[in-house]
């Protein structure tokens, strides 16, 4: 990850109407708490922790009732503002999908510059274990009803929590998309 990638990534997300907040790993729960609506469901994160109020072992009924779903992203693609969401037994795919708002947590270290890098990452993974990954870029969208609308089937809003690497600059922690 380079500084240029981070700024490209944020610029792309901004143009997609995706809000980004940044902070160190130990502020992760706080950043999620600010970004998540209520009720919220989630899947345990690889890095950082979830706030108490996020239900991490939801029933299907709780998933259906949830406003927000919180999951990890395995990778970010700077040039496109995409995040790679990997399906797993814990339910990352449904939690990121059957909700109105998806709060996705990405470590800056997992940011790659461009699409070919993402598929270089995916290839060995797909050939080895079974990899089911969706590269999500902005919210669900359709133009089939006579105009662009977000939230056709999937989330209407996406919020990215970007976890800084240790020692990274702590300033500039809030970036909001123009609504």
């Amino acid at each position: 990850m380079s500084v240029a990638d981070r700024s490209t990534f944020k610029r792309r997300l901004d143009s997609l109407g995706v809000t980004v907040t940044e902070g160190p790993e130990n502020e992760c729960a706080e950043l999620i708490d600010e970004a998540a609506g209520d009720p919220a469901v989630g899947v345990a994160l690889d890095a950082g922790s979830l706030p108490e109020r996020v239900e991490t072992d939801p029933t299907t009924a709780e998933l259906r009732a949830a406003h927000t779903g919180v999951t990890d992203a395995e990778l970010g693609v700077a040039a496109y503002g995409s995040v790679a969401i990997e399906a797993d037994r814990a339910g990352t795919e449904p939690v990121s999908l059957f909700v109105d708002r998806h709060v996705v947590v990405l470590r800056e270290a997992d940011l790659v510059p461009d699409m070919p890098d993402a598929f270089e990452w995916l290839g060995p993974k797909a050939r080895g274990e079974s990899a089911d990954v969706v590269f999500a870029t902005g919210p669900s969208a359709t133009a089939d009803m006579g105009g662009l609308v977000h939230g056709a089937h999937g989330p209407k809003e996406v919020h990215v929590v970007l976890l800084r690497e240790d020692g990274a600059d702590a300033a500039d922690s809030e970036v909001s998309a123009d609504e």
Binding site: D57, T60, A131, D132, G146, A152
Partner: protein, 744 residues
């Protein structure tokens, strides 16, 4: 003859009912493509990569199909290779209706599933099929067919969808805004997805190395259809296979940009099924979501042949298999923008490449229904992300249709003199008349002005319309009594002696310039001589463009050989070949590659120039611009002054010679505004045909909107453009060379 009343009527009806919605959407997509690909670094390299991957994959398809089978089976899935639609449907219905005992199957958008008509097959076995893509759902409710391969309901207006919902769901207060309509659909479809039994998707690409399939979507319905059901059936043509996962990358970067102008769509799903996600049980919803139910998932990949392996063996249709169904060729096409896929399409596919798909899958008869709508303007060629020569596929299919439909018993001996082509007897008369335009022009010139007076006479036009399908609202070309070649000889040949010349050039006397628009030929001679070029205007045969446009490939090929024979000695003597008519230059540079030995084609292509490109080059190399005509000398109406409106030729744009005219005019001090319309809609003979007159005028309409009340001097390079703009604006434009050439 060609005037099949139902065809013309159908086109006129669709233009009236769906044309506006289709035009707005497709033009928006096309502009989006130009912007989005313009922002992409290395666009041309990515296209070349994508093309290489497809060539490689189709080249070793049988091997890759076996690799996919091994990979998917190793992952725990099943692969079934279906010979045809019936075979695929039998497998899918047995699986769904019998093994799964499914009540409902939810589907994401898949053109291949439409090709095999799997919905009908499933419903016949009592399985409810729900299209979950919003556009497809609207069409399912309306019982209509897609009008576009990517955005299937673009022919429907927002108001129309609101009325449809009100009627189907008996609503007193139906949703009206795009937001309300979308949320209504989200809710209804969400419920239907929750208790579905089987999920069906297509696949945009499949990697043989891992069995990973890639889906390009935006709404999230494919993700939901897969996640919410424990049985996933993916239906894909065998041509979707690429060797490795890494080779997905260029397609991911190109497909959205090429189609709707999105850099990337919201969701690129890369699935190596069966997926690990738990299956949410919306019935017993008090149970934890993560209950290990992902272990029971079942996956079936149904690969469809349905004519594709035979297309692979067909040297001409094979290129169709490289198509990634992005819709760029639909959106870039003037005719498609006016009529949409309900006219410009076959059983399943629509747009320029549909001719290849429908000919290969359904047969020539289906392709014949809409193949005429490709005019060969070539604007789809630079838009195609895998560089398919789409006009050529249309030409090949047209040639096969010509030959297939020809009835050898028909006695058309009386036309044999008039139409000395290489085509089979019995070929449609309208096709042959246009295809033999050169012979007609020669004859018309010999007999002018009698021919001109005759062709304008009312009763004669009525006969021409009835017999040859030429619309009587069109002005027919007026033949000059002294062809350019004769004029040049009569004036004593070159005015600039060889030993004083900066360069030597052969001005190619294309059929239109030689027999009809001789003035632009004379202007070209003056412009070149003013820049110290020793000019020759030898008698040379036509380029073969008119017969090629009618699918008369053998005739066009023979013309190419004759032209090369006539030009070879000049090229050998290092003379430049200067061409006025862009459609003829496009033949030399592009299509002749198919007709001439490689070295011959290369020599001719390299020696040939568009006349304005050549003038540009002469000025760049020290030619004196003062020798040409600057605006101060007064051009056109006095008010126009130095202001010019320029409509470049479609094929000239494709081969990259349209901008030289702008550069030359600007260098001389003209203020040039360039037409935004990529093709005028006339396209040689197309706009003359009775069935297509209104369509042709509609395609040209944006030119009228842009230049209709301009006080600028209008210039255009193509003969067809000249006639079309005359019809649209009420005044014939001149060729740019006529603007800049010194006066006589």
């Amino acid at each position: 003859m060609s005037s099949d009343a139902t065809k013309g009527d159908r086109i006129r009806e669709l233009m009236a009912t769906e044309g506006d919605a289709v035009a707005e959407n497709t033009r928006g997509f096309n502009e989006g493509r130009i912007e989005s690909t313009g922002r992409l670094d290395g666009y041309e390299e990515l296209k070349a990569d994508a093309r290489d991957i497809k060539e490689d994959a189709i080249g070793r398809l049988p091997e890759l199909i076996e690799r996919v089978r091994e990979s998917v089976e190793a992952n725990g899935g099943t692969v079934y290779v279906a010979d045809d639609a019936a075979d695929a449907n039998r497998y899918i219905t047995e699986l769904t209706a019998e093994e799964c005992d499914a009540d409902r199957l939810v589907k994401s958008k898949s053109m291949t599933s439409e090709e095999i008509e799997v919905n009908e097959a499933l419903e016949a076995e009592g399985v409810e099929v729900v299209e979950t893509d919003l556009g497809e759902w609207v069409l399912q409710l309306a019982d209509e067919a897609p009008s576009h391969i990517v955005a299937p309901a673009i022919h429907k207006s927002r108001e129309g969808i609101s009325e449809l919902f009100a009627e189907r769901f008996d609503l007193d207060d139906p949703p009206e805004t795009a937001e309300e309509l979308t949320m209504f659909a989200r809710e209804r479809l969400g419920e239907l997805v929750e208790d579905a039994d089987v999920g069906m998707t297509g696949a945009n690409f499949i990697a043989a190395d891992s069995g990973t399939m890639l889906l390009v979507t935006s709404e999230g319905n494919a993700r939901k259809s897969v996640t919410a059901t424990d049985t996933h059936v993916a239906v894909a043509g065998v041509e979707k296979i690429v060797p490795t996962v890494e080779e997905f990358a260029p397609f991911v970067e190109l497909i959205g940009r090429s189609g709707t102008g999105q850099d990337v769509t919201s969701y690129i799903s890369t699935l190596t099924p069966p997926v690990d996600s738990p299956v949410p049980d919306f019935q017993a919803d008090d149970e934890p979501l993560a209950d290990g139910s992902g272990d029971d998932r079942d996956f079936h990949l149904v690969l469809i042949d349905n004519g594709r392996m035979a297309m692979r063996e067909d040297e001409q249709l094979k290129e169709t298999l490289y198509c990634i169904r992005c819709s760029a060729c639909s959106n870039a096409c003037g005719n498609f923008q006016s009529v949409g896929g309900h006219a410009f399409g076959g059983e399943t596919y629509s747009g320029g490449i549909a001719t290849g798909w429908e000919a290969g899958i359904e047969g020539l008869d289906t392709a014949a229904e809409f193949n005429d709508l490709c005019t060969g303007c070539s604007r789809c060629v630079p838009a195609c992300p895998v560089d398919i020569d789409i006009p050529w596929i249309n030409t090949v299919v047209r040639d096969r249709i010509n030959r297939g439909e020809a009835d050898p018993s028909q006695t058309d001996w009386m036309f044999e003199e008039l139409v000395p082509d290489e085509e089979p007897a019995g070929l449609d008369l309208s096709t042959r008349i246009v295809g033999n335009y050169e012979t007609l022009a020669k004859l018309g010139s010999l007999t002018a002005p009698v021919a001109n007076r005759l062709t304008d006479a009312g009763p004669v036009r009525a006969i021409v319309e009835r017999v040859a399908g030429i619309d009587r609202r069109r002005d027919l070309p007026e033949f000059a009594s002294e062809p350019l070649v004769d004029w040049f000889e009569a004036r004593g040949g070159a005015a600039v002696p060889r030993d004083e010349a900066a360069r030597e050039a052969v001005l190619y006397p294309d059929t239109a310039t030689n027999y009809v628009d001789v003035d632009r030929g004379k202007a070209a001679v003056r412009a070149l001589e003013a820049l110290d070029v020793h000019v020759r205007v030898p008698d040379l045969p036509g380029s073969g463009r008119p017969p090629l446009s009618q699918g008369m490939i053998a005739t066009a090929e023979s013309a190419a050989e004759d032209v090369y024979a006539g030009l070879a000695a000049h090229v050998d003597a290092d003379r430049d070949v200067v061409v006025i008519e862009p459609s003829d230059l496009a033949m030399f540079r592009s299509e002749y590659e198919k007709f001439l030995p490689e070295a011959s084609h290369e020599r001719l292509a390299e020696a040939s120039y568009d006349v304005m490109e050549y003038v540009f080059g002469l000025l760049e190399n020290g030619g004196d611009p003062a020798a040409l005509r600057a605006p101060a000398e007064g051009t056109g109406p006095v008010a126009a002054g130095k202001r010019v409106a320029y409509h470049p030729h479609c094929q000239g744009r494709t081969i990259g010679v349209s901008e030289h005219a702008t550069a030359v005019m600007e260098a001389l001090g003209y203020d040039v505004r360039v037409s935004d319309t990529e093709c005028c809609g006339m396209a040689g003979s197309f706009g003359y045909k009775e069935d297509y007159y209104e369509l042709s005028m509609d395609v040209g309409e944006p030119i009228r909107e842009q230049f209709g009340d301009t006080d600028r001097t209008v210039v255009a390079a193509g003969t067809s453009c000249t006639e079309q703009i005359d019809a649209l604006l009420g005044d014939a434009p001149m060729h740019p060379v006529e603007l800049v050439a010194p006066r006589e």
